[in-house]
């Protein structure tokens, strides 16, 4: 199983050995803990549940989590710290399971040169028009036009069919979706600082939660 939960820190650029600039996204990856292993017999599928981001205790020393959540982390005497996020990573074959419950997962599950897919939640754009949301063209500003610059144009014919077809692209909520960027190259792995840097951009705002897993793309051989 290879995968880790992270947080987007921001983008910067670094230089490779030739002095070429590489645009990178810095991700705070881990430390994560294996909180549960889902098995075919019990759960109907195989997956590893990871927990990320330790929460500081309250001032009186109490846990910040609810008792059920706390109990989940205490199962089988694991006694894990309070974790803010729990996410699951599917494992294709049960034989690929190479972690145990309670085990720590750090950024060194990846090495430089690995190809990864990064899952995040894109920035919300609110109620966006067709120009922004679907890439429609704008209409003319001149030639007698008024107030029609960003209008969608026709959304259908007249009495035949007498309705608007389902799926017609119109204005609406945009962004805040789960987005996966595939096949990003891992450029830096810093285990001590729990940092990863991948080439290129990654969905979501700074501070957003990311899932990093090996790419599903096959390498051209």
């Amino acid at each position: 199983m290879k995968g880790i939960i992270g947080k987007k820190v921001g983008m910067t650029q670094i230089f490779d050995d030739d002095g070429q600039v590489i645009p990178v996204t810095v991700i705070q990856a881990g430390p994560c803990y294996v909180t549960q292993i889902r098995t075919e017999e019990k759960d109907g599928y195989t997956a590893v549940q990871l927990g990320f981001e330790e929460l500081p205790a309250k001032r009186n020393g109490d846990s910040r989590l609810t008792k059920p959540k706390r109990g989940h982390l205490n199962r089988n005497g694991m006694d894990l710290p309070d974790l803010r996020y729990l996410r699951e990573f599917r494992v294709r074959n049960a034989t690929d399971l190479d972690v145990e419950e309670g085990q720590m997962v750090t950024a060194d599950v990846f090495e430089t040169g690995d190809r990864v897919d990064v899952v995040g939640t894109s920035k919300g754009r609110g109620y966006a028009g067709t120009v922004k949301r679907h890439g429609f063209n704008r209409q003319p500003k001149t030639h007698g036009q008024s107030d029609r610059e960003r209008a969608p144009g026709s959304i259908g014919a007249t009495s035949t069919p007498g309705r608007v077809f389902k799926g017609t692209r119109m204005a609406g909520r945009m962004g805040n979706d789960r987005v996966t960027i595939q096949n990003l190259e891992v450029v830096v792995v810093d285990v001590d600082k729990h940092l990863l840097a991948v080439r290129g951009s990654v969905p979501g705002a700074k501070g957003g939660i990311l899932l990093i897993k090996p790419t599903v793309k096959r390498r051209r051989g």
């Binding site: 910067t12 600039v21 990178v24």
Partner: protein, 114 residues
């Protein structure tokens, strides 16, 4: 969060402190085919941007036939071998874009001794 970004920064190469208006000689490594050599670009700094790894500066010089040539260097690039500051100048703004409209005598900057 910002401290985490700092970890990605290139090490300080010990270049002299640069200011707008400085006359500098920038030694850049250039790859020609499979040969590498060092080229020197001599001119005045007309712009300086400090921003971690993205920091850059623009050097303007007057080439032959009075043609102005500007070149922007990435301060943290390993391709920059050396920067020599020849002279500081008294300038009153951060971006010296007005130098583009000057030529000859009016393009002079008053020296500032440090």
């Amino acid at each position: 969060m910002n401290d985490l970004m700092k970890a990605m920064e290139m090490p300080d190469r010990g270049f002299p402190q640069l200011h707008p208006g400085d006359s500098v000689r920038v030694h850049v490594r250039i790859v020609e085919g499979n040969r590498e050599r060092v080229q020197v670009f001599h001119g005045t700094i007309i712009r300086l941007r400090r921003s971690g790894n993205d920091a850059n500066f623009t050097v303007r010089r007057i080439a032959s036939h009075g043609i102005g040539v500007e070149r922007t260097f990435l301060l943290r690039s390993p391709r920059i071998e050396k920067i020599e500051v020849m002279r500081h100048a008294k300038v009153r703004r951060a971006q010296l874009y007005y130098m583009r409209n000057r030529r000859g005598k009016s393009a002079r900057l008053k020296e500032r001794r440090m």
